[in-house]
Symmetry: C2
Subunit: 312 residues, 2 copies
């Protein structure tokens, strides 16, 4: 009988029985005892725990698959044993991350932080005209699965949407055409909301710097649900300090943000503690992926989401 | 030349020229001087100002139309002069109010208030699994223009949606069927989010009372964007005090909420100060309505949105 390990008994219970494979809990904190190693071919790394735990799979003679519960995988690659495939959890967090993007955008534009602070003072704010998302021009930078999931949720809000990918290409069911990242400085002055959902790489590291922020119009909102290092934090502090630009961030650089960091204190900045995927939506979607992967593993079919290793 | 009055010069400038009618500013605070009354046939009441100002139209010999900038109109009817039609601003606030509904729902479910409070303490909250809107069962009570506008914005969030109107009827482009308000106690136990967008009348006053709240499952969210009196406030305080039910409210009873009211202090309650329609989305939609109404008035065509008076 093949053996697969899941992060804890809760995950074993959630995934349920899969024909042809025995499921056991393993948190990967230390190597499995010697007498439990044979037959373990598929291991699932615990969500958001130290990625170096993958090194503890080195001693498993039958290991074929290391499955992550995150979409990001770059930090896992150095710890992957020879001969094992690394699979990420692409798709599992799309709904939750796209939802948070809209939540952060609407919370910022519809003044939820000042309402919360007024509530804590037991103060009913006087009538005034507030900003809104309706009629705004939205630029989504990053046109992968999550970028499109964000677009599907934002389009009914009577917005104008522009999509940006690494290179310009033809449109799809959501936009007439996709613009290239090399056009971004021409596009920024004409957009009120900029959403970042790019992977972190040499083209996107500190993409949002002084020049980028200066090209955004007064009153514009930057929403970062990508990675903290896509934004040059010092430049963002300067652009938001006087309220010229607003920002809503699920990720920061550094992360966690230290308590003495100036970003915490800027009224036009809203900070969420990297919660994009960490919601109740994750479990059912992860379970569906794990069952599908385990069935493929048992049947010897090609796995989904292979990002490193022999079949990548 | 026919004369129409608008609340101030800004509105006159926004509406622009309309053939056949002269536009003038009038705030309606006191009656027009006698020599400026002749020819005034169309007056626009200032948004959210004392509705009793309509009584100052009594002395206008040529008055045909009193146009409101709100969707609500019941409080205006007693002040309407004989022979004048009262028109509301149905449609003008749909986008903004529906947007706020989603903003309040997502802010509550995605924990924006605790994030704001943690930000004020410069504290990065530890990783945990948060709730979300994805996969939730949403009950929208009130299936008019705004109820449907809310649904259009919520459906892409991978929810299950049930619509409730005053009476059960066949479905439409958004739902397979519309349930009747008499079924609500059977529906409540099976829904995680309840959105109120009903008109206030004898059937909906204190609709949300102890029995209604007791029928909502533990952890459910009540979102009120209708009128404060649709909810029995004392019952809501009891249901939310221990966190069993959450609430997000754009309207309250009483309103404004006095500073010593217990609702302010309940962590699972989020309060916005009645800002549903008061956004940048209002002006272009109101201008479009006013231009259309003024053209109809000049051309002698039937007006839109007549809610009281000779043609109602």
């Amino acid at each position: 009988m093949r053996i697969a390990t899941l992060p804890d008994q809760d995950w074993v219970d959630s995934v349920g029985e899969v024909a042809g494979v025995s499921l056991r809990p393993w948190d990967m904190v230390s190597p499995l005892p010697e007498d439990q190693r044979a037959g373990v071919g598929f291991v699932v790394h615990p969500y958001f725990k130290d990625i170096r735990r993958i090194a503890n799979t080195e001693s498993l003679p039958d290991l074929r698959v290391v499955q992550l519960l995150t979409a990001g995988y770059e930090t896992a690659v150095p710890y992957l044993p020879d001969g094992a495939a690394l699979c990420n959890a692409a798709g599992v967090h799309d709904a939750s991350t796209a939802e948070l993007t809209v939540a952060l955008t609407l919370a910022s534009l519809r003044a939820i932080p000042p309402f919360v602070r007024a509530q804590d003072r037991a103060e009913w704010l006087p009538l005034q005209t507030w900003p809104c998302l309706t009629d705004r021009r939205v630029l989504i930078i990053g046109w992968g699965r999550i970028g499109k999931a964000i677009a599907r949720r934002m389009l009914p809000f009577e917005i104008t949407l522009t999509a940006v990918a690494s290179r310009a290409r033809e449109g799809d069911e959501l936009v007439d055409r996709v613009r290239g990242l090399d056009e971004v400085y021409d596009l920024l002055p004409h957009h009120d909301v900029v959403v970042l959902i790019v992977p972190l790489n040499e083209h996107t590291s500190e993409l949002v710097d002084e020049r980028f922020l200066a090209a955004m119009p007064d009153g514009a909102l930057l929403v970062n649900v990508a990675r903290g290092k896509v934004v040059k934090t010092d430049a963002l502090v300067e652009a938001t300090r006087d309220g010229r630009i607003s920002a809503a961030l699920d990720v920061t650089d550094p992360e966690p943000l230290p308590s003495d960091h100036p970003l915490w204190r800027i009224p036009s900045v809203l900070i969420a503690p990297h919660v994009g995927g960490a919601t109740a939506a994750m479990r059912p979607r992860a379970v569906a992926l794990l069952r599908s992967q385990l069935e493929r593993y048992v049947e010897g079919k090609p796995l989904e989401n292979v990002v490193a290793g022999p079949d990548a």
